[in-house]
Amino acid sequence: MGQDVVDAALEQMECVYARPDTLTDTRFHYCPGCGHSVVHRVIMEVVQEAGIREQTIGVAPVGCSVFAYNYMDVDMQEAAHGRASAVATGIKRVLPDRFVFSYQGDGDLAAIGTAETIHTCNRGENILMVFVNNAIYGMTGGQMAPTTLLGMKTSTSPAGRTVETAGFPLKITEMVAMLPGTYYVTRQSVHTPNAVRQLKKAITKSFQYQKERKGTCFIEVVSNCPSGWKMTPVQSNAWLVENMFPLYPPGDIKAPK
């Protein structure tokens, strides 16, 4: 079959799925099956569909997603480990009519950046904070995170996390939901197509609320780290449902009426 035949056939077809313009034509460097790439894509789909690319600025701090700016084709700032929400605050304060989002891992948002997280939410900064919780430090090779489950094995909890040495998994999303500055706090996931659709709705709503200057929107995405967890992608998604969801149940934690 010649190329012209293929082109002609393609022209007849309806496009049901394409890379949004807001994603660069670059292959993700993430491990196969990693949730990061799906979350990137969903955020960029929303930015594209809402037509807000020219007003959007993203902040990605240190973590596996530090290179988010290689994929998200919007203006972006890379932040120091833990400081994404402070950087986002600085941007939003001087550009209050732009859409600003941060994209942080659990180590970043719930350990080293806890103070910034709490105070950004408490000030009710008009930004979207996307929090990818994979219960582990992916980038540095699978160490224990503040969200690591009790009994979960990581390179710094080789026999499984214990309360005696490391305390409890931190439910920071429930904590920020208590703060009057947050407007919309939800926990989502990307382990099934339906979950991805739900996440997309949550992100769309968050940008709408940001436009209406309602306060901080905070979306936790319960995600996986097949490499750090030492599982196949399929195993990791099953493990996530079985082990992560009981402690981190999906659904809205604080939603406007």
């Binding site: 690319r53 020219e54 007003q55 959007t56 600025i57 902040v59 530090v66 290179f67 700016y69 998200m72 084709d73 919007v74 203006d75 972006m76 700032q77 890379e78 932040a79 120091a80 400081r83 402070a86 950087v87 986002a88 605050t89 600085g90 941007i91 939003k92 304060r93 001087v94 550009l95 732009r98 103070a115 910034e116 709490i118 105070h119």
Partner: protein, 363 residues
């Protein structure tokens, strides 16, 4: 025609920031510079400035990163312990080449130290302070007038070189009151366009990215080489200093900030007693006025460096003098301010040990 106003150094600095078109200020209270945050919260906000009291200096410097990266003229201020907390952020800012002004109203350390004036942060300010190879441009005022003036200069230098600028002032300069005159300054003539800023990507340009991450060693080396090239340009163009009575000097004192004023007094006293001594006051601590110090050092019998620390700038003085004359040091620490008589005494000790007739080669 501008009027003189009687103001505290911190307030003069804050007032200058407003009229220099500083769009946003992020800071955290600490003595002896809280008046800056207070003045800006009141007067700055009234005149349209964005002022945010951050939860920490760590947050403040990262807000500066974000806002500077978004193209705004921005400033933060703190004192020694708070400036220590900002070092990681300053390293990122220097690497990402974001213009901003950082004020350190230096107090005595180490540790929590004292709230009294000191110059113990000289190394931290001039040698980088955080991790990696970088420099801030460091301006050292020695009067309330300069506390104000250097704000305009500082913002302009920051924008010209896309580099963080620090005003390093010892605590006394923040607290003392003097008359100050604010220059005419048209903000529009001074703030350059910032096409690199992240303000939202229009279709006609690629996305702007603010980052300090370059994983490939060759790329990171290129970034470093470019930074070093910029620092060489800054060193060749931006050295500032004041020379007093250096033409006929047989001895030279080097001092900056408040100490330079005390040393100036000591110079007058010593000259009245027949000791021909001159003073060099570095105004830019980085880039350091090595050239001027070297050329005067060749002609004198000895150099005395006076600081309110255990001897920090004296290392740069020694490098500049490079063995051409003996260099001695006198310092007070912990918030103690040296008196002119102490400096005269040190000078006499130096002169006794190194009478002027002695040829330089013997040292």
């Amino acid at each position: 025609m501008n009027d003189f106003r009687l103001m505290k150094g911190n307030e003069a600095l804050a007032e200058a920031a407003i009229s220099a078109g500083c769009r946003a200020y992020f800071g955290y209270p600490i003595t002896p510079q809280s008046e800056i945050l207070e003045y800006l919260t009141d007067e700055g906000r009234r005149r349209g400035m964005i002022v945010l009291q951050a939860e920490s200096e760590v947050a403040a410097i990262n807000m500066i990163y974000g806002a500077a990266g978004a193209g705004a003229r921005v400033m933060t201020s703190s004192s020694s312990p708070g400036i220590s907390l900002m070092q990681e952020g300053l390293s990122y800012i220097a690497s990402a080449e974001l213009p901003c002004l950082v004020v350190n109203v230096n107090r005595g350390g180490p540790g929590l130290g004292t709230i009294q004036p000191a110059q113990g942060d000289y190394f931290q300010a001039t040698k980088g302070g955080g991790h990696g190879d970088y420099h801030l441009i460091v301006l050292a005022p020695s009067s309330v007038q300069e506390m104000a003036e250097f704000v305009y200069d500082g913002f302009d230098l920051a924008d010209r070189y896309r580099n963080p600028v620090m005003i390093l002032a010892d605590g006394a300069l923040g607290q003392m009151m003097e008359k100050v005159e604010f220059p005419e300054y048209r903000v529009e003539d001074h703030v350059p366009p910032k096409p690199w800023a992240t303000v939202g990507k229009p279709p006609e340009r690629p996305a702007n990215i603010i980052t300090s991450l370059h994983i490939q060693p060759e790329k990171m080396e290129q970034i470093n080489l470019r930074l070093q090239e910029k620092y060489r340009v800054i060193e060749s163009r931006e050295v500032r200093y004041e020379a007093i009575h250096t033409d006929d000097a047989e001895y030279l004192i080097v001092a900056y900030g408040l100490v330079a004023r005390i040393a100036h007094k000591a110079v007058e006293v010593a000259r009245a007693e027949g000791i021909r001594v001159g003073l060099i006051r570095p105004i830019t601590l980085y880039p350091f006025p090595s050239g001027p110090i070297r050329s005067i050092a060749k002609k004198v019998a000895g150099v005395l460096t006076v600081e309110m620390n255990a001897g920090q700038m004296v290392e740069d003085v020694r490098l500049a003098v490079n063995g051409k004359a003996p260099v001695s040091f006198y310092g007070r620490m912990g918030g103690v301010i040296p008196a002119p008589e102490e400096i005269v005494r040190e000078l006499k000790t130096l002169a006794a040990a190194h009478p002027h007739a002695q040829p330089a080669e013997t040292y």
